[in-house]
């Protein structure tokens, strides 16, 4: 049973990490609490639903298209809500507030338009079979999530460390004013970060919607609290940290539910969060995160 529980934990943790990747990037680089992130997650899932149900696309076509769609939305919403706030002295509070209002409007508009029902992607989009390896069961969708999470982490790290764009983004995360003075087009770099975050959120929505078979307008909202825990424990903007923190959170939650009490599952996540904040508020994996990303 322990082996299965550990696998359950890693898989759950992979979904947390997948959700948190774009969130931590947005948070770490743009330095604002952007509560609209969860909406891109829902939007990606709904886009994939339309693409697969109405246009009959397969998962390999629908996944990138939905991700790009969510990314474009992120850029648009970011531009509408946040550009004029960046210059303000109280940008942190104001952006929290404006994205709070924005996300309320977006979720409820989406619910009014599409209805509150739970939907699912067409059955058979991914094989529903599960494999049994050494007594441990795992499904195709779960393997897909695990693979996608690792792949996206690798791609993001390569982008951040190995490209000029990555350098510009890291410079911006460190010192936005200085980056501007050094000739980095910060407006364009912010838009790109929004786009990438939106794409990651959208892709996460598709994959997690596929795994749990449940797509509904508020699905992103329900992930937000776990998302906060992961990005704080992992360190803001720390991509590797998000992966480690996500998986650790998943494993701890599953072990708590499996061996102590399922009622405590959620409380443990937040107890860890509070403990980490008290002892290492810069996240478990150090500070000045984007420099090392």
């Amino acid at each position: 049973m322990l082996a299965q529980q550990l696998v359950n934990g890693v898989l759950l943790g992979a979904t947390y990490a997948l959700f948190a990747l774009g969130f931590t990037l947005m948070f770490g680089v743009l330095r604002v609490i952007n509560l609209t992130y969860g909406f891109y997650f829902s939007a990606g899932a709904f886009l994939s639903l339309a693409l697969t149900r109405q246009l009959g696309l397969g998962i390999w076509a629908a996944l990138p298209l939905a991700a790009i769609g969510a990314g474009i939305m992120a850029v648009g919403i970011d531009w509408l809500l946040l550009t004029r706030l960046r210059r303000r002295a109280t940008a942190e509070l104001d952006s929290l507030m404006v994205t709070l209002g924005g996300v309320l409007a977006l979720y409820s508009a989406m619910t009014a338009w599409l209805g509150p029902d739970i939907r699912r992607l067409p059955p058979g989009l991914v094989s529903a079979d599960s494999f049994v390896i050494a007594g441990v069961r795992i499904t195709t969708a779960q393997i897909l999530i695990l693979g996608a999470t690792l792949l996206l982490v690798a791609l993001l790290l390569a982008l951040m460390r190995g490209t000029r764009l990555g350098l510009a983004i890291r410079a911006m995360a460190e010192k936005p004013d200085a980056a501007g003075l050094m000739g980095i087009n910060t407006a364009r770099a912010s838009a790109l970060v929004s786009f990438i975050s939106g794409c990651l959120g959208g892709a996460g929505g598709v994959l997690i919607g596929l795994n749990f078979n449940a797509i509904h307008p508020y699905m992103g909202e329900t992930m937000m609290l776990r998302g906060f825990v992961v990005i704080i424990v992992g360190g803001l903007g720390d991509i590797r940290g998000a992966l480690i923190a996500g998986v650790a959170l998943g494993v701890i939650e599953v072990l708590t539910a499996g061996y102590i009490s399922s009622g405590l599952k959620e409380a443990v996540a937040f107890a860890i969060l509070v403990a980490v904040l008290w002892t290492r508020p810069q996240g478990l994996f150090g500070r000045a995160v984007m420099r090392r990303a």
């Binding site: 529980q5 699912r120 069961r137 449940a214 399922s262 959620e266």
Partner: protein
């Protein structure tokens, strides 16, 4: 600016209520349902059932040709907004009776207010225990879980179930109350309870709880939660290797056509006790299902069916009361003896449904409920 708008709105209210002549005046009935936010699906189904019944009632008229004006207020599943809605319906719209609210939690907040004002209040979807104990003006047409679950467990025992594990959502009143009933009923029926596991009603991952339960090999798993998490549990149970040897037993929350839509074949074999089911062979039920499909182009669920009957029960009570006065409507409501799509209906002394005779045990087959043979 805001203050002035409010002042004008406040001043306009009493004037509006008095502007129409008495004869043409429709009878004011209110409903409080969840029409927005994440739980809107329940309220929308209920409103669908109410509106459908209202069409039929108003085509004939009651109290000698008067129509019912039904004002449906949104509670957004928020306690304060539900109370505000009740106060608005009573104080401003002068309703003679209120149908709803949707959730048991909301009823615990709204009931004391309507009861204090002696406005008969009819819950159609509130299954928690203690609802009608709020006061003599609080009624419900929804069968409490304690009437349904024992019937379901009996059917399970007939199929050889001796051990059971229970799973429930511990953060909403409906699921928790259903679980309490399920636990008591299982003990009373002599089933041995191997494990009790909880989850959050918005959770999507149940693998830890299911893996633990699987290692204990119970004959059955009892589920008390709303349809969304129940679907999630079933889907995940199948991928963790639960097969036909484990019987899944649902509470009232599982009794929704959405279970088949969301969980698909994973839900096959689940049994649930229900006061109503869509394929019930009765003329009035077939007519109801056809009319509902024609009006909304989707299948009705039990919430819609319960609401449809409740609207008719309320209209019947107002008609028998002889006048649109809350006190008389309450007394007439208590004497209800009608027959709807759910079957024959009367209230107990405690204003709960009198009979659980109509309860059938359903089994999920290929995404649809059928009567368990």
């Amino acid at each position: 600016m805001m203050r002035r708008t409010l002042a004008i709105a406040l001043l306009a209210m009493p004037a509006l209520a008095q502007s129409q002549p008495v004869m043409a005046q429709p009878i004011q009935v209110g409903a409080i349902e969840i029409l927005s936010g994440p739980n809107a699906a329940y309220g929308v189904a209920i409103k669908g059932g109410l509106d459908l019944a209202l069409d039929e009632i108003n085509a004939k008229g009651i109290l000698g040709g008067r129509k019912i004006q039904l004002t449906v207020e949104d509670s957004a599943a928020n306690k304060d907004q539900a109370i505000n809605a009740a106060r608005k319906l009573i104080g401003r719209d002068k309703v003679v009776a209120i149908i709803g609210p949707t959730l048991s939690n909301e009823m615990f907040a709204v009931g004391p207010v309507t009861n204090e004002r002696k406005i008969p209040t009819l819950g159609t979807s509130t299954t928690a225990s203690g609802i009608t104990e709020i006061g003599p003006y609080i009624f419900r047409t929804s069968l409490p879980e304690s009437d349904v679950i024992p019937v379901t467990l009996k059917a399970a025992q007939a199929r050889g179930v001796k051990t059971i594990a229970l799973m429930y959502a511990n953060d909403d009143a409906f699921s928790k109350s259903g679980f309490d009933v399920m636990k008591a009923a299982a003990e009373k029926a002599g089933l041995s309870i191997l494990a009790i596991e909880s989850f959050g009603s918005k959770d999507t991952d149940f693998s830890a709880q299911l893996t633990k339960i699987k290692s204990l090999k119970p004959d059955a798993i009892g589920l008390s939660a709303l349809v969304e998490p129940v679907s999630g549990v079933l889907l995940q149970a199948r991928s963790l290797g639960f097969g036909k040897e484990t019987l899944f037993i649902g509470g009232n929350g599982s009794n929704s056509p959405k279970l088949g839509e969301i969980a698909g074949p994973a839900a096959d074999g689940l049994i649930v006790g229900s006061p109503w089911f869509i394929g019930k062979k009765a003329d009035n039920n077939e007519a109801f299902v056809a009319a509902y499909k024609a009006k909304y182009s989707r299948d009705p669920d039990q919430f819609a069916a319960q609401a449809y009957d409740a609207m008719k029960i309320m209209a019947g009570a107002i008609d028998r009361a002889g006048a649109a006065e809350p006190e008389k409507v309450r007394d007439a409501l208590a004497k209800t003896d009608s027959s709807g799509v759910m079957g024959p209906f009367r209230f107990t002394e405690g204003r709960d449904p009198a009979t659980a005779a109509g309860v059938v045990v359903l089994v999920m087959k290929a995404g649809k409920f059928a009567v368990l043979e």
